[in-house]
C-alpha cells in the first residue's frame, strides 16, 4: 500500500498557470491590439464632436441601415440554419448528407467576389433562376437592394449557423434521446425536452457571430445594395481612412461599431453562460427520433433538397464560368499553370500555419473559460470576437504601427499575415470548439480529478478523443478562411509573388477575365479539398462507431 502523504503523479502542464496564462496572453493581446489600433488613429487626429453622429443625417441613416440589415440577416440565417440542422438531425441517412455538410462548411469561406459572382449568375437580372421564375410566373425579382444583401448574407451565414447547431443537436446525451424515443415525444414537447436545451447553449453565440458578420459586411452590401442608400458603417470607415484621411472620424465610427457589436456579444455571452451547460455524456449513437417518419420525413427531404440547391447553384455558376479558363490553363500549361501552382503552394504555406495558429489559440483561450472563473470566461468569449468587430483596416493600421519596426524581411511580413489570418478565424474556430471542449460531464470530471488526469493527461485521454472531429473541422475553417483571404495580405503589402486570391485580383486588374474565372474556380476547388481532407479522419471513425453501436445494442439487449 502506498504511503501517505501521497502526491499524484505530476502531469505535464497541470499547473493552473498553464491553463490560464497562455489564454490570458492571447485574449489580452487581442484586446490590446484593438485598443492600440483605435488609439493610434486618435493619436494622429482629434476625436470629432460626438454630436455629429446623430446630427449628421447621412451618418445616422448609415447606422440605422447597418443595424436593420444585420438584424434581418441574422434572424433569417438563424431561422433557416435551425430548420436545416433539425432536418439533418432527424434524417441521418439523407443521401446527400455528407456533400451537403461540406458545401455548408464551404460557403462561409468563399471570397466575397467569387461568391457574389456565383450568386449573380443564379439570382441576378439574367441569372438562371431569375430567368426560369420570370418565364413561368409573373413574379418580378430584383436582386439589387435589401433583397440581395439579405440573400447573400443568408447564403454565407445560414450554413454556418446550421453547421454549429447540428453539432449541438447531435451532442444531446443518448439516455435523454432514448427516453424521448420511448415516450414517443413529438412536436412541441420533443423540442422542449430534447432540442431546445441543446440549441440554447450555442444559439446566443451564433447569433452574436452572425450579427457581427452582417454588421461589418462591406463589399457585398455595396455590390448588391444598389446604391449609396445601402451603406454600412464599415464603408464609412473605409471612406474616412482611405479617401479622406480623416482619422478622427474613422476612429469615432470604429468606436461606434465596436460598441454596438461588443454590446451584442456581452449580452449574448451573459445569456449563453446563464443557460444550463447540460452535462453531456456523449458518443451519441443513431437513436431513431419519433418525429423522423412520414410527412415530416417528406418535408425534411424537400427542405434539405431546396437548401442544397440554394447553396449548390451559385457554385455551379462558378464552375461553368471558370471551367473554360481553368481547362485552358491546365491544357496549355506554361506560365499561367506555373503561376497557379506557385500561388497554390504559397497560399498553403500561409494558410496551414494560420489554421494551426487559430486552433491553438482557440484552445488556449477556451481553457480560460473552463478553468477560470465567470469573468475570465466572459473575457475569452468577447476577446475572440474582437477581430470581427474591428474593421480590418483599423486593425491593420494599429498592427502596422506596432509591428512596423520589427518587419525587417518579407518573410516576417508573410508570417504576420498568417498570424492575422489565424486571429481572424478565431471567432469561428472558438464557436466550433466551445461545445465539445467545455462540455465535460460531472461524473467524468470527478473521476478524472481523482485519478490525477490533469493538464496534458486530461487533454490526452479525455479531450482529444472527443475533439478530433471538431478540431479537424476547426482546422478546415481556419485554413479555409486564410486560403480565401485577400484583405489582410493586401493590407500588408507583398512582394511580387501572389497567393491564389491575390493572383485572382491581379488577373482582374489586367482584364484577364477568363483566367480570373478559372482561378476563382480553382480557389473554390482548393477550399472544397481542404474541407474534404480535414473531414476524412472523422469520417472513418464514425464508421467504426456504428459497429460499436451494434455491439452495444446487443449488450444492452442481453442485460435488459
Amino acid at each position: 500500500m502506498r504511503q501517505f502523504p501521497f502526491r499524484a503523479t505530476q502531469a505535464p502542464f497541470s499547473h493552473p498557470g498553464w491553463q490560464i496564462g497562455p489564454g490570458l496572453i492571447i485574449a489580452g493581446s487581442l484586446l490590446a491590439l484593438t485598443i492600440a489600433g483605435v488609439a493610434a488613429l486618435l493619436w494622429q487626429a482629434q476625436l470629432p464632436e460626438m454630436s455629429e453622429l446623430w446630427q449628421n443625417r447621412y451618418l445616422s441613416n448609415v447606422i440605422r441601415f447597418t443595424v436593420w440589415q444585420a438584424i434581418l440577416s441574422t434572424v433569417l440565417s438563424l431561422g433557416l440554419g435551425l430548420f436545416i440542422a433539425l432536418a439533418l438531425v432527424r434524417q441521418p441517412r439523407f443521401p446527400g448528407r455528407n456533400l451537403l455538410l461540406r458545401i455548408m462548411e464551404l460557403s462561409l469561406v468563399l471570397p466575397t467576389i467569387v461568391a457574389v459572382s456565383g450568386l449573380v449568375g443564379v439570382y441576378g437580372r439574367h441569372g438562371w433562376l431569375t430567368s426560369v421564375v420570370e418565364h413561368w410566373t409573373t413574379v418580378r425579382w430584383n436582386l439589387y437592394g435589401l433583397n440581395g444583401i439579405v440573400l447573400a448574407h443568408v447564403f454565407f451565414n445560414a450554413p454556418l449557423a446550421g453547421r454549429i447547431l447540428l453539432q449541438a443537436l447531435e451532442s444531446v446525451p443518448a439516455p435523454r434521446r432514448r427516453v424521448a424515443s420511448q415516450l414517443g415525444l413529438t412536436g412541441w414537447w420533443l423540442w422542449r425536452i430534447l432540442d431546445w436545451p441543446a440549441v440554447r447553449r450555442v444559439l446566443p453565440g451564433i447569433a452574436a457571430l452572425v450579427f457581427t458578420l452582417c454588421f461589418t459586411s462591406f463589399a457585398i452590401v455595396m455590390t448588391l445594395g444598389g446604391g449609396p442608400a445601402s451603406t454600412t458603417l464599415e464603408v464609412a470607415i473605409y471612406q474616412s481612412l482611405r479617401f479622406e484621411f480623416d482619422f478622427g472620424r474613422a476612429a469615432l465610427l470604429a468606436i461606434v461599431q465596436l460598441t454596438i457589436c461588443g454590446a451584442i456579444w456581452l449580452l449574448m455571452v451573459r445569456r449563453g453562460l446563464s443557460a444550463n451547460l447540460s452535462p453531456e455524456r456523449r458518443f451519441s449513437e443513431a437513436i431513431p427520433r419519433p418525429d423522423s417518419q412520414g410527412i415530416v420525413r417528406f418535408r425534411d427531404v424537400v427542405l434539405l433538397l431546396c437548401f442544397t440547391l440554394f447553396l449548390l447553384l451559385p457554385l455551379a455558376a462558378i464552375l461553368f464560368r471558370g471551367l473554360p479558363g481553368l481547362v485552358t490553363v491546365a491544357v496549355d500549361g506554361g506560365n499561367p499553370l506555373a503561376d497557379l501552382a506557385d500561388a497554390t503552394l504559397r497560399s498553403f504555406a500561409i494558410a496551414l500555419p494560420a489554421g494551426v495558429f487559430s486552433v491553438l489559440s482557440a484552445l488556449l483561450v477556451l481553457a480560460l473559460a473552463t478553468r477560470g472563473g465567470t469573468n475570465l470566461s466572459r473575457l475569452s468569449s468577447v476577446a475572440t470576437a474582437v477581430p470581427l468587430m474591428v474593421p480590418p483596416i483599423v486593425l491593420g493600421t494599429g498592427l502596422f504601427l506596432l509591428f512596423r519596426p520589427a518587419l525587417g524581411h518579407s518573410f516576417q511580413g508573410l508570417a504576420l499575415v498568417a498570424l492575422i489570418n489565424g486571429l481572424m478565424a478565431l471567432p469561428f474556430v472558438t464557436q466550433l470548439l466551445k461545445g465539445p471542449l467545455t462540455g465535460l460531464d460531472e461524473p467524468t470530471a470527478r473521476q478524472a480529478d481523482q485519478l490525477g488526469l490533469l493538464g496534458w493527461y486530461r487533454w490526452r485521454w479525455l479531450h482529444w478523443p472527443r475533439l478530433k472531429r471538431p478540431l479537424a473541422l476547426a482546422m478546415a475553417y481556419g485554413t479555409g478562411l486564410s486560403l480565401g483571404d485577400f484583405g489582410v495580405i493586401a493590407l500588408f503589402g507583398t512582394p511580387g509573388q501572389p497567393t491564389v486570391p491575390v493572383l485572382l485580383y491581379q488577373q482582374l486588374g489586367s482584364y484577364r477575365m477568363e483566367l480570373a474565372a478559372g482561378t476563382a474556380l480553382w480557389l473554390v476547388t482548393l477550399l472544397l479539398l481542404v474541407f474534404a481532407a480535414f473531414n476524412l479522419p472523422g469520417y472513418r471513425r464514425k464508421q467504426r462507431r456504428h459497429q460499436h453501436d451494434a455491439l452495444k445494442t446487443l449488450a444492452e439487449a442481453r442485460h435488459a
Binding site: F283, D449, L451, A555
Partner: protein, 204 residues
C-alpha cells in the same frame, strides 16, 4: 485511521446543514445508513474532495485532508455507475488508475492481465465499456480501485442494480480489499450488503 470530526456542509440556497462525526480503523468497513436525500452521497463527496466542507476536519493517520485536492487524497471512489471512461478500452481505464500518463512497466501491464483474469474477465483487455454488462463494468472499476492502491475506498451504492451473481462476486472482491487492510466507507440501501461487509454503522 480515518477520523471525521464535526464535518459540516450546506448546499447553497438550502436550509439544511449536514453534520458528520465518525472514525474507522484499517481493515474495517463503515456503513452509512439513511433514506434517500439524507446526505450519504454528500458525505462521500466531501471525503473525496469533490465538495468543500464549511467546518470540521477529515484526518487520515492524524494528517489533515481538508485542503488537499481530489488527486492528492488517499481515496478511491466507486459509484453506482459512470465509473469508466466510455471512449477508452478496459485496459486503458484500469491503467490510468496506475499512472495518469499511462506509463506502465511490463510488470504493471501483466498485473492488469492477471487482475482481469482473477475477476473472471480474462481476455477483456481491449473491450470498450459500452460492450460490457453492468456487473462487468463494476468489476473493471473495482479492479482499478484495487490496483490504484489507495488506503480508503468510498463506495456509493456500488452494487445497486446488479444481478445476484454479480453482487456475490463483487462482495467477495470487496472483502478481499478489507482483508488487505483498507478502510471501506459504504453507502448502500441494501441490508444484505451491510450485513456481509460492514463492521460498524453510521445512521444519518
Amino acid at each position: 485511521m480515518l477520523d471525521v470530526k464535526d464535518l459540516t456542509f450546506r448546499y447553497p440556497d438550502t436550509e439544511t446543514t449536514w453534520r458528520f462525526t465518525f472514525h474507522v480503523d484499517h481493515g474495517q468497513c463503515i456503513a452509512i445508513n439513511g433514506p434517500s436525500g439524507s446526505g450519504k452521497s454528500t458525505l462521500l463527496n466531501l471525503l473525496a474532495g469533490f465538495l468543500t466542507p464549511e467546518s470540521g476536519t477529515i484526518r487520515w493517520e492524524g494528517d489533515l485532508l481538508n485542503n488537499l485536492a481530489p488527486w492528492n487524497r488517499p481515496v478511491t471512489s466507486l459509484f453506482q455507475e459512470h465509473n469508466l471512461f466510455e471512449h477508452l478500452d478496459v485496459q486503458t481505464n484500469i491503467g490510468l488508475g496506475m499512472h495518469p500518463g499511462l506509463r506502465l512497466s511490463t510488470e504493471q501491464k501483466q498485473t492488469i492481465v492477471k487482475g482481469l483474469a482473477s475477476v473472471g474477465m480474462a481476455g477483456f483487455e481491449s473491450r470498450m465499456p459500452g460492450d460490457l454488462s453492468g456487473g462487468q463494468r463494476q468489476r473493471v472499476a473495482l479492479l482499478r480501485a484495487l490496483l490504484r492502491d489507495q488506503p480508503i475506498l468510498l463506495l456509493d451504492e456500488p452494487l445497486t442494480g446488479l444481478d445476484a451473481e454479480a453482487r456475490t462476486q463483487l462482495r467477495s472482491l470487496l472483502l478481499r480489499h478489507k482483508a488487505a487492510g483498507k478502510v471501506l466507507v459504504l453507502a448502500s440501501h441494501d441490508a444484505e450488503d451491510r450485513k456481509i461487509l460492514a463492521d460498524k454503522q453510521l445512521n444519518l
